[in-house]
Amino acid sequence: MIKRAQSFGKRAQLEMIGIAIVVVLVIIGFLFVLKAISKPPSSTQAGFVRAHIGQDVLNTMSIADAGCFGIDMTEVLKACAEGSTIDCAEPCVYFDEKVKEVLEATLEEQKLAYRFRVYRIEDPPKTAGEALGGIFMEYGGCNETSLNRGTLIIKEKPGMIVVPTNAGDIKVMLEVCSNPY
């Protein structure tokens, strides 16, 4: 009787070990599946576009015709910084308007969040409103608040050009923001 009870207990122990092994295997399998599913797909093409578009937009914009009697966008910006005039409109307002047009047709069309700033190098702005002539633009919530909170980040090197003027060097920066996840 005792022998029978002992062998029954041993069998129960073995079955318990079997169940434990099965549970461990199922958990390992589940983790493996979870890992494979949760891995976000990396996009080579999107990464390439993000890495270059900021600088490309600034390069093309700097030499582009401003649509104002043959002057280019750099000349409009120079006039804005130096406080001189152009034939079409107030230069800072005109520059602001034209930059908006370009950014809408390039970055916004591709749903890319960005932050565009123009300021004097020796006098960098502390807040958005302090930018040169109020020239500060953002899209997709890419601003100081979201960057400080970490809801958006700047992964790529920002696009940047420097325009020398009689009123000091002007820095034009275009940063493309992306989701941290």
Binding site: G29, V33, A36, P41, S42, S43, T44, Q45, F48, V49, H52, I53, D56, V57, N59, T60, M61, I63, A64, D65, A66, G67, F69, G70, I71, D72, K98, E101, V102, A105, T106, E109, Q110
Partner: protein, 178 residues
């Protein structure tokens, strides 16, 4: 009496072994079901990773094509013999579009090596918006299985015939099909 007890014992023994057999069969059935589910999961994951690999290669191809076309001397613009970065000459673009057509077999095949199954267009966006110019079109017949990836790159467009305001901004759209 003894014979009867023996017969009952034998019957009970065979019943017990039948139950044990059934148990073994059930365990095997459950085991094979688990193995089959695992195999299905594994094949799904493998399928996903193969698709991911294909997509990556496809995207790399799109990037390679965009890099190829941006630095092509056939289209690049220059200022006093110095090539300007990401800039196309409008007249070169027109000439290229009129020559590289499926009707001109040799020219088309020459560029097919570089551009594969893709459609490349350039549209002017600033200061004036103009219609897109198709400079290469080798799009396959669109079916449900055809997928494409679009890469848009801002480019400068130069009109060398103008004395002032020669440059405008354009978008180079490269749509690669798989």
């Amino acid at each position: 009496m003894l014979d009867r007890t023996k017969t009952v014992k034998i019957r009970m023994g065979s019943r017990k072994s039948q139950i044990q057999m059934m148990e073994t069969v059930m365990i095997l059935v459950v085991f094979f079901i688990i193995v089959a589910i695992g195999f299905i999961f594994y094949s799904k994951i493998q399928e996903g990773s193969i698709r991911e690999l294909q997509r990556q290669r496809f995207e790399e191809e799109a990037v390679a094509i965009s890099q190829n076309i941006i630095y092509m001397p056939e289209l690049a613009c220059s200022e006093k013999s110095v090539i300007i970065d990401i800039c196309f000459d409008k007249y070169k673009l027109k000439a290229f579009a009129s020559i590289v057509r499926p009707q001109n077999r040799n020219e088309f095949l020459f560029y097919q090596k570089d551009f594969g199954e893709s459609r490349i267009t350039v549209r002017e966006i600033f200061p004036d918006q103009k219609d897109a110019v198709v400079i290469y079109d080798n799009a396959p017949v669109i079916s449900q299985e055809t997928s494409s990836i679009l890469t848009s790159v801002p480019v400068s467009l130069k009109d060398p015939a103008k004395r002032y305001g020669q440059y405008s901004i354009g978008i180079l759209d490269i749509e690669v099909f798989a």
